[in-house]
């Protein structure tokens, strides 16, 4: 399986995606996922967040296409874990207003 590599930069202009990005905890999660792929279990440990909160934000980020599930693996405990990664290294918000 080829390793997923995020794009260097991605532009977003959809209002709901922009809204999704403007959230403190989602930004924290994204900042980790930009660096490396991680699981909900790893994120809750790294960010000291409730796993339910992490899962909720991961679902939201997935829904808006800001992150991607890269693989599914088992750790040494036998726990099945889904790995997530940011789709881009940089997120650019692009807003445009038409002249009336």
């Amino acid at each position: 399986m080829t390793k997923f590599e995020p794009e260097s930069q991605k532009k977003f202009n959809e209002p709901d995606v922009v809204g999704c990005l403007f959230h403190d905890k989602r930004q924290q999660i994204l900042s980790v996922l930009v660096e490396k792929e991680m699981t909900v279990y790893g994120l809750k440990t790294a960010l000291k967040m409730n796993p339910g909160v992490v899962k909720r934000h991961i679902d939201s980020l997935l829904e808006h296409g800001l992150i991607k599930q890269t693989r599914r693996d088992q750790n040494k405990m036998g726990m099945t874990l889904k790995y997530y990664r940011a789709v881009a290294m940089k997120y650019v918000i692009f807003l445009e207003w038409e002249k009336p």
């Binding site: 339910g52 899962k55 040494k76 405990m77 036998g78 099945t80 874990l81």
Partner: protein, 283 residues
């Protein structure tokens, strides 16, 4: 891929397994305690409904003559009335195994409280059947080792018998306890017994040691608290305090200790079925 394979066959220590079980309980305490509450509330509701409906039925069938029936027949009818409630109780309690399995196998280390209803619906018969098997075995073990017949002057024999009894219970919990986990993970009722046995057979020493780590401290504490302490209580006031403290202890056991056992058994099964998955366990 070789790295993955060697990672999967690596056995972890009982201490690491216990640490993960406690972490899971800490993260999902609300969901597990919620399931226990649902079990209690729904059981009471079912009992109320059955008693209400059967009350009408009994008065219709027997009119005033119910109390004229033989005691045995009255007992049989009463037991039948309580059976649906027990089924509901054990099914919800058993769904704790399903929830723990979902956290470990779902991929997102996550479970919702409403999952307990899903496992209840899917495995109610299996969970109840297993609970009945467990209870019968425990009653048999208890009847072999009755606690009230040992005189105090034979305290060492008494303690030795207690240790033997506790060892048998740990063995039973370790062996039978895997069956609802296997059932929750989609195996059929009989295949669950087979898989539980295969996992236990290959790793029995570590499994018993891990179970003992969780069971022994609480069992010893309960014994000291429930048996030894009772010899030192003289006044009525302290008996009342003692009784109330037992209620709190029971609540603690019910909401914290029981889910911990479910989680621990699931973690153990999941780990050791992964370790032995290349050999026997039918997935």
């Amino acid at each position: 891929m070789d790295v993955n394979k060697s990672k999967k066959t690596e056995r972890i220590s009982p201490k690491e397994i216990s640490k993960l079980s406690f972490e899971l309980l800490k993260d999902y305490f609300k969901q597990f305690a919620g399931t226990q509450i649902i079990a209690v509330v729904s059981t009471i509701l079912v009992w109320m409904i059955t008693l209400f409906l059967s009350g009408s039925l009994i008065s219709l069938l027997f009119a005033e003559s119910f109390y004229a029936l033989s005691i045995t027949l009255q007992d049989v009818i009463s037991i039948f009335l309580f059976i649906p409630g027990f089924f509901v109780f054990f099914s919800f309690i058993g769904s704790g195994f399903g929830m723990a399995s979902e956290i470990l196998t779902g991929g997102d280390y996550y479970v919702k409280l409403k999952s307990s209803f899903y496992y209840f619906k899917k495995h109610w018969l299996g969970y109840s059947g297993l609970a009945i098997i467990n209870i019968i075995i425990l009653i048999l073990v208890d009847s072999i080792f009755p606690k009230d017949i040992y005189p105090l002057d034979k305290i060492f024999q008494f303690i030795l018998l207690l240790i033997i009894e506790a060892s048998i219970k740990i063995l039973i919990f370790s062996l039978i306890g895997f069956v609802p986990v296997a059932l929750s993970q989609g195996n059929s009722f009989f295949l669950s017994f087979k898989n539980a046995w295969l996992v236990f057979k290959g790793n029995w020493y570590v499994i018993i040691k891990s179970m003992a780590l969780i069971l022994v401290p609480v069992q010893v504490f309960s014994f000291m608290y429930g048996y030894v302490l009772s010899f030192f209580i003289k006044s009525n006031f302290w008996w009342e305090v003692y009784f109330i403290s037992w209620i709190f202890l029971f609540i603690g056991l019910f909401f914290i200790y029981f889910p911990l056992i479910f989680i621990h058994l699931t973690v153990l099964y999941q780990h050791f079925s992964t370790v032995t998955q290349n050999t026997d366990v039918v997935k």
